[in-house]
Amino acid sequence: MKKIFFISLLSILILTLKSFCGTLPPYSFSIEARLKLEGIGNKLGEEWYETAEGDVSATNIKINNKWKWGDGEMFFLKPALSLFPGFEMGTELEMIYNYADRRYLDVTLEKKMKEETNWIKLINGYVEYEKGYIKTGFYYGIGHGDWRYEGDLFGLYPEAWEIEKYLRVGGEPTPYWFEFKYDGSPHKLDLILGPEISWGAKPAILGKYSYAERNRLWTLIYKEQAVEWGKTEDPESFDETWPEYKKKWWEWTHYEHFREIEFSLRSKFLGIANLQTGLLFAPNRVDWEYTYVEEVAEGTGYLGSKYLIKNDKIKTTDGLAFKTILDTQYAPFFDYFKVQYTRAGVMAGNTSEILLGFEKKPSKISSLYVEGIFRDPIIGPNPYIYEGETPKELRGPAVVTPRGEEDPFTVTMYNRKAYIANIFFLFDPTPGWFYRWQPNMLGEWNLNPEEKGPSFVIRYSISYYPTGTDRATYYDETAQKWLWEPAWSAGIWPTKKPVHSLGFMGVVTFVPDYRVILSLLWEDSFANRAMVYTEENVESKEWPQWSPRLVTNPFDIKITLETPLESYMKFNGYIRYGHNIWGPEDWHREWGMTYDNFYNIALNFIIAHGIETESTISAEYIKGSETDHKYRTLASFDEIRLSWTLKSGVLFNFQ
């Protein structure tokens, strides 16, 4: 039955002649469909085997592992409807017939669907109405930007773009929210009611009012957010079996709320500079107690030590923050100058930060941007202080531990003490901007698709983190929830000396239209979950002990080729080699999991059939290998992926 259903859908797709792409015209209905058929074969390395539970493990015995092949069939259906001018609604459904197991990036939505025998899933949707000054809608599993260019200096509204990752890892569409916008310039209003405005976030409401006058933008933002790790009323009344809306309502009514108000002004300064100034007031967790440690003369602290352990309570003023940004293109000696200063109380970000940036153009076709950042938390992380002696066997009770779930605030990777310098050198003799979205950020996603080159950017960074962190939350993929790191962790360790990073991205286009992109990264890189920073993990243990890497020096090079072969056929592909690189998932770096060597080659042919229907034929080879016999956390494997994707659509106009 399932097969017949699938073949029927395929027939509809193939018979479709023309697809609809773009904003839906009024009084119309469109369906976009995509069929993906894939065959995936993989083979474990010769020292690896699959356990009964489906995990992989290593052995001293060489195993003659065989190639295993599987097939996957997925169908995506994306209907959209516009009933009258300004009104539009749409959704996307994914149906699977089978799922092909894979070794690389093996956490997928399709795998979850197959395990749950859930063959059809709604993966996004929206309803939107726009008329005159007003726009309102509900968005489900659709990404959104932030308000950084609309006066939000403190990031109250976070962006959420990694939709595919949220679906793949979390298994459910996110973010989702209601929005009401009024644009009666110079007055603008934006209201958001967000059950989950970013992945894992608890319910929140946000309101932004702005008033624009000549050279000035006044902005007022209010945010109220339910927070999971605070005081919860009647926690036993929560029921995991409830529908999602009921869970979200319970979270809103039972969790502690954080309230934040931001006021900012963007204006011209002396006619030659841009000035942004903001104030934040976040009077949360007032009267909560916290511990901090001061170093004093040896013998005068707790139990005759050098540590004075103090307690204090959160005050209303701890929720105050101030931030200002001044930038100009009329600076002496430089072509651009930027200074940014932030001071935020412990409940408003816990940081004191200054950023200085200078840009100098040695010639019309090149620029050098140098940026320095100094950051220091107002109250630093708590050290791990304990009775007894240093060897673990003689270690007694912890007297102070890094802050966590039970504390009003923490120091994280993002506000710990840091000295950072970034240098960017851009060579771009071609017209147009080299970057796509943001200046001075490396990544193919940020490269202007129109950039033909020859042009390149080099980034060199040097960073020093003299102090550690407190504990943090992390996403446990196995348990599918966010958890706090345990209290025995001493936080992420400080660096002994400055660490370095070098990045390169260059573009060149050969005649007639062969665009080649070269990306390169070489750096000192750290595991970023505090709980892997233990003495045992400093010295890598010999096989078969599981031993994460705390520090690695990844070298990663990728060459991408993009070209139109014919008017109806395009080709793109890449070759990538990585040495000592982190695994592809967030938790791989968190847990210190690396590939000693990684090889990847991918080829895609995109063939247009008619005007809008196209098919893509893809072939990919991936190889991950462990060669030093120390870090046996990511299995060695070979994988081949072959796929064919057919995409098409139809538009009906019923006016």
Binding site: P383, E389, T390, G404
Partner: protein, 200 residues
Amino acid sequence: MKILKIILIFTIFLILSCGKTDLIYDPFPDGALHKWSGKWVIYGDKLQTGGGIQLFDSWEEQSFEYSEENPYSGKKCLKYSWTGNPVYSYVQGTKVGWCGMIFLVGGDWQYQYTKNISGGQYKKIYFWIRGELKSPTKVSISGPGDNKVEYNSSTIPKNWTPVVLSYTTPLSNITSFLTIVYSGIGGGGTIYLDEITYSR
């Protein structure tokens, strides 16, 4: 020429910098006080053993959490429940009629080691307990030695009650701080513990 100079500077930076591994500072030695206060609250509002907690074996029929349900003191207490159904043992490869929870010295079984806490001169463990058990389930709670306390459905206190386990020998070779074991299929129950403390 300028461009070549800049590229040369970047290259020198690179050669001088990347590829070193001795980059992080171990903060644990700095934290040693080299003295003992004689009191160790291993669980107050958070686990303070320096180790982890392990359940025997499968989580399917048992649950453990730091609960906000009427703690004896502070914000949270420790809650440990068993449904009373057999629990899968990964070691034995079959379901067994008991389950348990252990406060380990190490982070988990893989990082298990022994600990010498005789410097603290601890003579007793005390804690507060309350709970509910259904017959025939029993629960026993023990420290590092043989000394233990056992409850059944009629003896388990419903309100917070103090318990003391005394020791005469130095605790010089321990692998766990506290062990809780449920037994007796068919009943099940929940216990709450708070302020679990080693003292002189």
